[in-house]
Amino acid sequence: MRKAATDAIYELAKTDPRIVFIGSDLGAGTMDKFRREMPERFFMEGVSEQNIIGMAAGLAMDGFIPYVNTIATFLTRRCYEQVAVDLCLHNLPVRLIATGGGVVYAPLGPTHLAIEDLAIMRALPNMTVTAPTDAPEARRLVMSTVDLPGPLYVRIAKGGDPVVSRDEDGFQVGKAILLRQPKDVLFVGIGVTVNRCLAAADQLAAQGIGAGVLNMHTLKPLDEAGLLAAAKGVRAIVTVEEHTLMGGLGSAVGDVLLRRLGRAAPDLITLGIPDVFPEKYGSQDALMKHFGLQPTQIAEAAVRVLSAPVGAAA
């Protein structure tokens, strides 16, 4: 997925002289073509995220559109004040391409996991927050970002993720994509949880339960109209995120349901990572299983909520 995103940045830069690329200390050879062909707009600045964000802000103030790429946790936690003040307060068109969001770096431990990136980016005024579900969607997203006003956060997944997005659905920041029409229950996913939601829906279909899937690739601004339209008539909504349950997709969806539907809202189950630093290593898949975010577990959560008395979901 990162390659799809960075290839898209290269393509944009070939035709738009406002685009610059800034990396920190990326893997050897990353974006070599960009560096060779447009060296004056390619920057690799070392392990110095605070300075990189400031530099991107200064370039943006003078007319450039910087795409900044490094590991998600270092692009959010380490330089949070620079993101808040330099980018968001000035409302500058800087694009943060955050590699390895969620638990992608599971074997490397909690210093490398970005499990609250979406929440802390979402809390910043002017910031747009996205997480594409697969490589083609990452490409569609990046290609649509040049003239997007203000700063943008793009959470990039591991790569080689199942492709579930479709060209015919197009892509627009802030507009959720209904991949499967719901009947009994609606899954709302973001990033790679969308493919787990689809697999869960397949399992439920075999049991005669109609589960829909909404790809909420943009967490902020949240597509409230799209969510409410998709939720119409369902008994329950299950949000699924590779992220802490504090302040991410579940929180955002819950806010909308409470504010817009009140007691008429369907039951809501939020699946995600509890308020802990993950203690296990293994793989992304293993950690997602540990936190109940794999297809069978998602399907089981839906069955539980559907078999409980109305309003009893917790």
Partner: protein, 290 residues
């Protein structure tokens, strides 16, 4: 607190090291200080002494060095001046008003609810302000971006970043220093307002910076030490980059609270709120005698 009590807590000069023996302040320097005091008194608060150490640096930049168009603040060909130590904004606002970026009457609204002038400068609100600062350690990175932008766009704009000395405790400054030097940004000048006091007390006690000249030099800058209240020396050192192919650092040795004798070197005046009538009168009286 009376002025006499305040001065009782002043830090002895022997404690903060040598301070510049500057030429006497001329009429313009005194008049600019009076504008700062007027704004402080109208708001009843502000970082006065942090502004007073900056007056000559900003005066020389805006009078003699920077290219700008006050009636077209975002003119692309301008030089950029970022006040990274945003808490010194009373001095910046004073100079911007003096140059006609906005009406001098705006200064009377300083820190009021609907004012465009708050306790730290904001880009987009205040004509002539290049970056919203206040959180320390941000201006250099932004200035580096602007200096790189000028290079790519083949503009000969210079970029000036004014930091405090307490401010350069921040690690982001030293990340920026490495970056500026790597890119050989000779269109970038960092000016350190070396007044040797930070909020808690002398920099030598809180976080010693010395040997500061050597540090900047080691980070790849061409460095000059200058009396930060000597207008002629400042004009000369800021007129052009010191060395081709290197960023410049000017360490401006200054006095916190310069020009108002009883608040000089007094950390209690780093930020002052609830300025009383007596304190205001004492500030004006001291300026008369400066």
């Amino acid at each position: 607190m009376s002025p006499a009590q305040t001065s009782a807590k002043k830090i002895g000069v022997e404690k903060i090291g040598p301070t510049p023996v500057s030429p006497p302040l001329d009429a313009r320097s005194t008049a600019l200080r009076k504008v700062c005091v007027d704004a402080l008194v109208s708001a009843g608060r502000g970082h006065l002494s942090s502004a007073l150490s900056l007056i000559e640096v900003l005066r020389v930049l805006y009078d003699d060095v920077l290219r700008f168009r006050a009636d077209e603040p975002m003119w692309a060909g301008r030089d950029r001046c970022i006040l990274s130590k945003g808490h010194g904004c009373l001095a910046l606002f004073t100079l911007l008003a003096d140059k006609g970026f906005f009406a001098k009457s705006e200064l009377e609204t300083y820190c009021q609810v609907d004012s465009m002038l708050g306790g730290h400068p904001e880009r987009g609100k205040v004509p002539g302000v290049e970056a919203s600062t206040g959180a320390l350690g941000h201006g250099l990175g932004i200035g580096i971006g602007m200096a790189l932008a000028a290079r790519i766009q083949k503009r000969d704009s210079r970029v000036f970043v004014i930091t405090g000395d307490g401010e350069i405790n921040e690690g982001s400054i030293w990340e920026g220093a490495m970056c500026a030097s790597k890119h050989r940004l000779d269109n970038l000048t960092v000016i350190v307002d070396r007044n040797k006091l930070q909020s808690y007390g002398p920099t030598i006690d809180v976080q010693d910076l010395e040997p500061l000249t050597d540090k900047w030099r080691a980070f790849g800058f061409a460095v000059a030490d200058v009396d930060g209240h000597d207008v002629n020396s400042l004009r000369s050192v800021l007129a052009r980059p010191l060395v081709a192919g290197k960023p410049t650092c000017v360490i401006a040795h200054t006095v916190k609270g310069k020009g108002i004798a009883h608040i000089e070197h007094d950390p209690n005046w780093h930020h002052k709120s609830k300025v009383s009538d007596d304190e205001a009168a004492a500030l004006y009286a001291a300026l008369e005698n400066a």
